[in-house]
Amino acid sequence: MKLALLILEDERPVREALRRDLASFARHVRIEEAEDVPTALEVIEEIDTAGDRLALVMVDHRLPGTSGVDFLIGLADDDRTAAARKVLVTGQADQEDTIRAINEAGLDRYVAKPWQADALCDMVRDQLTAFVVAAGVDPLPHLAVLDAERALSIVRERGDL
């Protein structure tokens, strides 16, 4: 079982930049990209079929068709993805939408464009850890992409079985 990270962003250069900044995660985390919501839903289906867990969704606020926020709200209602951490990566989000994202989709983080690669990686690490902790996933296989201290505190409670 792998943790999966979904980037939903319609602009290719931005997607590529995100992927490149997150390259250090790629060995341990399944990183998927989607340019629109239908593709994203396909990807989620694929992740689920492969037995992986969607741990983190990074969504652009402005998307063709439906807004990123609506997509996040949809995720919150789907029990395959409800536990996934939700991050809005956006250059412009109006207050109303952001409030909706927080209240209705349980938005976890808000990343403003342009982002700093280090801060982005820290954020992703933090969110993946939060997912692992909350979802009760064994952190050891994913230790490399997690916050070691928090992840290991789950391990230490297991004892010597």
Binding site: G51, A76, D77, D79, R80, A82, A83, K86, N103, E104, A105, G106, D108, A134, G136, P139, L140, P141, H142, L143, A144, A148, E149, L152, S153, V155, R156, E157, R158, G159, D160, L161
Partner: protein, 470 residues
């Protein structure tokens, strides 16, 4: 977290092929002794053999969780071998309560105290602060630093579970690892911790579950070992193996000029609760070490901190909830299994299977240690001990050797198994850091474990005898 919290989804894990096989074979193995008449085996022995075979297959294949198997063992014993058995006709049987009692066996109580102290140590940051303080004398070059790291890990591991020790130490060390140049040095440091945690676990009865299982089985056969008595038996071996491991790991992986500085800042919690905890924990350890003087059994002592910490509210219900109950239940299952084997006469039959007398003692011990080591390399140490300790103690009945030595040897041998990531949880943590290749773990595990096993099988009985410990 999110406001629209949906109910957490409980998804059943899909059983692996091995697990399916375990379930299938376990069922068959369970049925065979019940259906086939085995000559020389009492009727109760047939039932116990069925349970034992099922336990072996379930523990080895982990078809169901280890602690579930342990509970299953107790349930089956109650249903098949107690006064509440569904089908009688196998002669007089012990009470069901005696099987359930395994859950509150004195050894379990001892562990309960150990666990609570270990959790408290973490809660108040004592583990980390002790590590920081004790690392200081070892500052110097990379190799002495690693020695310090191993010494502290081992020391913590004597009182805290191996897993927790490894988790704590890795939480401290991972940032330091990241600062090291990629290469063997990282591997060396990453291996030093699980090795020290595994080996350190043998140091005290509360260090790891196999110790408790052995202790429980020995006590059941009236051969109790005191806390300090165990330490005298195990610590010498522990020290030698640790030193050897340090020597081996540093020579193999860590160049003397590696820029490794292990300096941690100690920041002891000085709140009244913390100070109260230090006092209670210190008193408990002191009482454990001084058992010969006051004669209070280690289990009783182990129950003191439970009462004291809860009464003073230094620790509370949440802390109790966080205790590693699965481990305690696994140990309880092992104890119940051992008791069942003894009670049902299965032990006598097992001994009678082979003419053990014909084999030299040394070879026998060597085999015993080897089997323990091999089995616990691939399955849980605790499960191995659960299976092998009763067998070994049965075997010891007919051998010219103190059963205590045999029980302790099996428990120690289980702890020396560390050749694979799956061998022990500390190994799994080390492997998860990504700094250790399986190959390196196999090499170091075989060398260090092999060295320890040889020492244990060939030298220790003599040493124990010479020291007059047995």
């Amino acid at each position: 977290m999110s406001t629209p919290t949906t109910r957490a989804r409980v998804s059943l894990p899909r059983p692996t092929p091995v697990q399916r096989l375990g379930l299938l074979l376990g069922s068959i193995a369970f049925l065979v002794p019940l259906l086939v008449e085995i000559p020389g085996l009492a009727p109760a022995g047939h039932r116990m053999l069925a349970i034992f075979l099922l336990a072996i297959l379930l523990w080895v294949t982990e078809a169901i969780p280890l602690y579930a198997t342990a509970m299953l063992v107790i349930l089956l014993q109650v249903l098949m071998l107690s006064d509440q058995a569904l089908f009688g006709g196998v002669g007089p049987l012990t009470s069901a309560a005696s099987y359930f009692a395994a859950l509150a066996n004195p050894v379990i109580i001892l562990f309960l105290g150990g666990f609570l102290i270990a959790d408290g140590a973490h809660k108040f940051g004592l583990d980390r602060n002790l590590a920081a303080v004790m690392l200081r004398p070892f500052a110097g070059n990379a190799r002495t630093s690693v020695l310090g790291l191993m010494a502290i890990t081992a020391l913590l591991s004597m009182f805290v579970s191996n897993t927790a020790t490894a988790a704590t130490m890795f939480a401290v060390v991972i940032p330091i690892l990241a600062a090291l140049p990629a290469g063997p040095a990282r591997t060396g440091v990453a291996l030093a911790i699980p090795v020290a945690a595994n080996v350190g676990g043998i140091g005290t009865p509360v260090g790891s579950p196999p110790n408790a299982i052995a202790l429980g089985a020995l006590e059941a056969s009236g051969q109790g070992v005191s806390f300090i008595g165990w330490m005298l038996l195990a610590v010498p071996l522990m020290l030698v193996v640790l030193l050897f491991a340090w020597w081996f790991l540093t020579r193999r992986y860590i160049a003397a000029d590696t820029p490794l500085t292990l300096q941690l800042s100690a920041d002891f919690d000085r709140s009244p609760a913390a100070i109260l905890f230090y006092l209670i924990a210190g008193a408990t350890v002191l009482l454990w070490l001084t058992e010969p003087f006051h004669g209070i059994s280690s289990s009783t002592v182990g129950f003191l901190p439970v009462v004291a910490l809860l009464a003073t509210q230094v620790m509370g219900a949440d802390d109790i909830r966080r205790l590693q109950w699965p481990v305690l239940w696994l140990v309880a299952g092992g104890i119940a299994l051992g008791a069942g084997i003894g009670n049902s006469g299965l032990d006598a039959w097992l001994v009678g299977l082979v003419a053990w007398d014909a084999l030299p003692l040394t070879l026998l011990l060597f085999l015993l240690v080897g089997v323990s080591l091999g089995l616990s390399t691939v399955i849980s140490n605790s499960a191995t001990a659960n299976l092998l300790v009763p067998l070994a103690l049965s075997l010891a009945i007919g051998l010219p050797i103190d059963p205590t030595a045999v029980g302790v040897m099996v428990a120690l041998a289980c702890a020396l198994a560390m050749a694979l990531p799956i061998s022990t949880p500390p190994n799994a943590v080390a492997y998860a850091t990504g700094e250790v290749q399986t190959r390196e773990m196999v090499v170091s595990g075989i060398v260090i474990g092999g060295f320890g096993a040889l020492l244990l099988a060939l030298v220790m009985p003599t040493v124990w005898g010479a020291l007059g410990l047995l």
